[in-house]
């Protein structure tokens, strides 16, 4: 019994350390670790209706998402990680894999988003302007980029925190999109 007591701290250390190593392995394995699991999974997209960004004709609202599987991608010209995922979004658009709808989040200047898109290309079917985080808060967003996979009925099926990388796309997003299309 007494000897057992001495082992307790060691056991606690092993358990805590074990969890830490598991998490680290997941991260280094290219898997995104959901720090905040979204409470919105399997719920309808929150109703929103965003104005267009400067120079664009149409904005984007929750009703535009009905009838097909879509990706809603939250970005900003100020967001470095968004720039990192941007070429891959362009590839998705060029190959016509799935329509991506954009929420331009918290631009300081009204022309910042449009300029950024003119420079790097526009992968979005429609873009809504969200300078006051209206849609961002409705989606429970904590940072950019975040992407949501929405099914035909407008139900959120997946939340991707951080950039969409080829790895995440191949392993998770694309299989899920194909699965949802069968429904």
């Amino acid at each position: 019994m007494k000897r057992f007591l001495y082992v307790i701290p060691l056991m606690v250390l092993l358990v805590v350390g074990g969890f830490a190593i598991m998490q680290l392995k997941q991260v280094s394995g290219g898997k995104s670790v959901n720090i905040l699991p979204s409470v919105l999974i399997n719920r309808e997209v929150p109703p929103f209706d965003l104005a267009p960004i400067q120079g664009y004709e149409k904005g984007f609202g929750s009703k535009d998402l009905l009838g097909q599987v879509t990706i809603v991608n939250l970005f900003g010209s100020w967001c470095v990680a968004c720039q990192a995922e941007h070429p891959f979004l362009m590839k998705i658009k060029e190959q016509g894999l799935v329509p991506i709808y954009g929420i331009d989040w918290r631009e300081k200047k009204p022309d910042a988003g449009p300029k950024w898109l003119a420079k790097y290309g526009n992968p979005y079917t429609l873009i809504g302007n969200d300078p006051n985080s209206k849609a961002a808060i409705a989606f429970g967003v904590t940072g950019a980029p975040e992407s949501f996979i929405v099914d035909q009925k407008g139900v959120i099926r997946y939340k991707q925190i951080g950039p969409i990388t080829p790895d995440v796309w191949e392993s998770t997003l694309w299989p899920l999109i194909q699965e949802l299309r069968k429904i």
Binding site: L5, L36, S38, V39, R106, S133, K134, A136, I137, T142
Partner: protein, 165 residues
Amino acid sequence: MIRILTVALLLAVFAPLSAQAVEPNEILRDPALEARAREVGKELRCVVCQNQSIDDSNAELAGDMRVLVRERITAGDSNKEVLDYMVDRYGDYVLLNPPFKAATLVLWIGPAAIAVLGLFWVAMMFRRRKSMDGGSEMSTSGPQNAPLSDDERRRLDELLKEDSA
């Protein structure tokens, strides 16, 4: 004098820590509504800075959340409805004082359980040491544990007799 200076210095150093981040242009005209907005704001975590309330945080998202809180309060929501609105989107995580339920059991019970285990462990250590000390003193015959002398034994017998009589 030095004491006053010290207090003044401490105040100067620590006062800013309790400062509010609420911007003047966010404040509602109605003081009663604003007071309620502050109450709600204190309960809500700034989701990008983890350990501050939205009222304490200068983060942009926290500012937008403060504005949203005020909008909903002005629109007639109760404090609880505003908090529910946020929990609906961000989960219990957004509350600085998370509710007691199955998913948060470890959070609430964990520290107390660890403290109890720790106390138990310390108690075991003390008991162990005590029994070891006792054992060693018996053999070294310290003043407390030495056998009674004849004189002492006689007095003890007398006292015991007195007691029982």
